[in-house]
């Protein structure tokens, strides 16, 4: 039984022309179907029916006739874009010290952006006292002057400076980590695909697990919070989700959470994806339930409200001394939530991903058995614990030319700064397939 559930717009994966698209139910599964007059019809799985799509999405409207007609080709925020900038991504190099199977940025042998150019970009993008900038690449840590770039970001007025990294140099060069921390780095997003080297060999081409652990240790020495960022690839590490969460909890408070990224097929990809090669958001939710069990109550994971609900989720917790997660929010308390602003979201993620000042961390990191369990039942105990041991489970389901849904794209709050414009992430990295 085939049923059209919703109208939207997408692009032809071959020529990237904007075309109408439908959400179509076939049994329990939901597909994005579209036809290009020149290149034919395309169908991509977007939901497996493991959760109720309508209640997950809430009451966001469809794209109406005449709305967002220049999307995504005029991207560089237009008046019709429905969300402000939460985080700005700035590429500081094309070089990389890995050759991953999957890479949105196609990092490799490229060049560094000259320091003076990076500095001028930072001053152009910064909204003093507000901006959260992600230094990205390539692999930013191949640059010896990265601490100077961090300092320039702070000088420009960026409130938070995030480093997106594979962690190799952070593991091998403790002095470099110290310099980054002293320059004002706020927190680290570290590629972290699993807890065994078979996964790293398959996705990244070499053994990396020991290095990842070393990088976390070095960041902990200088009070830099680390969020683990796995790229989830079916058949490689989608059975590793529970282990990733348990590893992260075990390494809290140095590790601040896990940010899951189901694989997207843009940039450097091995091949065009079959249905089995996609990992949808509801598959991820079901996998967390199956693999993490009681550690993660299912009603503690809520749809994104800053970006589109189909773009991700967040769960907000405190890590207790016995390595359980105390959920701060449950679904029933949030049934009527409205979309949040990019500014609210930025304040939230930064509060969770950044570790408190060293003095506060020192006093709260000491695991005091007498405070176990019931310490968060007093106002002071709760605040002490949440400042030091907050923890998030988040996800970002990036879109590619196959599953791009402009209803989602127009709510994107993660923007790449390029050529003086803020471009939604999935529009910037959109790559022709085939």
């Amino acid at each position: 039984m085939r049923k059209i559930l919703r109208k939207t717009y997408s692009v032809c994966p071959v020529c990237l022309k904007r075309i109408p698209a439908d959400h179509v139910a076939l049994g329990n599964k939901i597909y994005l179907e579209k036809s290009c007059p020149e290149h034919g019809s395309f169908s991509t799985i977007i939901w497996h029916g493991l959760r109720d799509l309508e209640s997950w999405r809430g009451n966001l409207p469809e794209i109406a006739e005449g709305e967002n007609e220049n999307c995504p080709h005029a991207c560089g925020l237009c008046p019709e874009h429905q969300q402000d900038t939460c985080c700005v991504l700035l590429e500081v190099t094309k070089r990389c010290n890995l050759r991953c199977t999957f890479c949105f940025a196609q990092g490799g042998d490229g060049e560094d952006i000259p320091f003076a150019t990076v500095r001028s970009h930072l001053f152009a993008l910064a909204d003093p006292g507000k901006t959260l900038v992600q230094l990205s690449g390539g692999e930013p840590t191949v640059r010896d002057d990265l601490p100077q770039i961090v300092a320039a970001a702070k000088e420009a007025g960026c409130q938070y400076v995030q480093l997106n990294t594979n962690g190799i140099r952070l593991a091998q060069d403790q002095e470099f980590v110290k310099e980054l921390a002293q320059a004002g780095l706020s927190f680290v997003f570290m590629q972290f695909d699993g807890t065994n080297d078979d996964i790293y060999r398959r996705l990244r081409g070499q053994d990396l697990f020991a290095l990842k652990k070393q990088a976390i240790e070095h960041c902990a020495l200088f009070n830099l919070g680390v969020t683990l960022v796995p790229t989830l690839v079916p058949g490689v590490n989608t059975d590793e989700i529970g282990n990733l969460i348990r590893f992260a909890v075990a390494h809290a408070p140095a590790v601040r959470g896990v940010h899951f990224q189901p694989v997207s097929y843009f940039g450097r990809i091995p091949a065009l994806p079959s249905e089995a090669e996609r990992f949808t958001l509801d598959q991820l939710l079901a996998a967390i339930e199956a693999q993490a069990g009681e550690l993660v109550p299912q009603d503690s994971i809520l749809p994104s409200r800053c970006d589109h609900p189909l773009c991700g989720f967040h769960g907000d917790y405190i890590v207790m001394n016995d390595k359980t997660l105390y959920p701060l929010r449950r679904k029933e308390e949030n049934c009527c939530c409205q979309p949040t602003t990019a500014e609210q979201n930025r304040a939230f993620v930064a509060r969770r991903w950044q570790r408190p000042q060293a003095e506060a961390a020192l006093s709260s990191d000491q695991e005091n058995p007498s405070l176990a369990g019931d310490e968060i039942e007093t106002l002071e105990g709760f605040l002490r614990r949440i400042r030091s041991h907050s923890f998030t489970l988040t996800a970002m389901a990036f879109q590619d030319a196959g599953n791009l849904d402009l209803e989602r794209l127009r709510r994107c709050s993660l923007h790449v700064f390029a050529n003086g414009r803020f471009v939604p992430f999935c529009a910037y990295y959109l790559t022709k397939q085939g």
Binding site: L328, T378, L379, E380
Partner: protein
């Protein structure tokens, strides 16, 4: 001396307030704090520093963005 450590009287009952454990509930979470309380009518005195400080921070931490 902190406001909550001073001697206070309940304006209605004319009773001296005594420190007692008070429970605060917000968004499904309950916290305790010792505060001056009237032994007769059970009214609680919440010092401004607590309202603007710890209570406001707990609210911010619990509110979903």
């Amino acid at each position: 001396m902190a406001a909550e450590d001073r001697k206070w009287k309940c304006w209605q009952c004319n009773q001296e307030l005594v420190k007692q454990q008070v429970l605060f509930t917000y968004l499904g979470h309950t916290f305790s704090h010792d505060l001056p309380t009237c032994p007769k009518c059970r009214r609680v005195f919440i010092p401004k520093e607590l309202a603007d400080g710890a209570i406001a921070e707990v609210e911010e931490q619990l509110e979903d963005k």
